[in-house]
Amino acid sequence: MKFAIVVNEGPYTHQASDTAFQFAKSVLAKGHEIVRVFFYHDGVNNGTKLAVPPQDDRHIPNNWSALAKENELDLVLCIAAAQRRGILDEKEAGRQGKDSNNVIDGFRISGLGQLIEAGIQADRTVTFGD
C-alpha cells in the first residue's frame, strides 16, 4: 500500500515529527511504500542543516535525512512555508539573493501541488501536527 505522510510541526517543540518518523519507519518495515513526506507550516524546520542538538538527544533533521537516503524517500519542504520561515536550499537562496542556504541533504523544496499530488497518488494520507 502507498502512504503519504504530512508533517505540520517543526522538530523538538512538538512530538509530531518524532511520531511521523516512527510511523514512517513502521510503514517501510511492513513493506509498504511512502510516496512522499510533505513538510508544511513549521514542519519545514525539520529540513534545516544548521541544527546542533545535544549529543545525547536525537538529531531529528539528520534522522529524516538518513531515512531518506536509506529508502530513497521523497522529502519535500513546502516552498511558501519555507520562504516565510527562512528555510532555503541553494537554488532558492540564489534566486532570492541570499548569501546562505540551510536545507539538509535528502530534502527538496517544492510547491504545495506536491502535497495534493501525494494525496492523489497515495492510498492513505496521514497527517501529524499539533
Partner: protein
Amino acid sequence: MSILHTVNKSPFQKNDLASCLAHVSDDDAVLLIEDGVYGVITGTQAAGQISKSPAAIYVLGGDLAARGIGEEKVADGVKIVDYDGFVDLAAKHKAVNSWL
C-alpha cells in the same frame, strides 16, 4: 468504508477528543497518540466518554509508557497498539482524520 481518527491532545486541556468522539461513525476507529493517550486513564471523565463511543478505541503503547501511564490504568475496552499497529489501522480504514 470507515475512517481512522487520531487524537494527540490531552483531554484535560483541549476539546479535541470530545469533538472527535462527537463526529465518529459507528464503524470508525479512534487512536489516541502523543498527549492524547491521557484520555484513556480509567475513572476519568474522558475515559467515560470513550466507553460510550460506538467506535473502536486504540491507544499507542509507546506514548503511554513514555508518560508513565501503566497498562493497569488503561480503561476497559481500549486496545493498546504499537507503531506497526498504527500502520495496520491506517491501512485498514479508507482514510485517516487527524484531529489537530
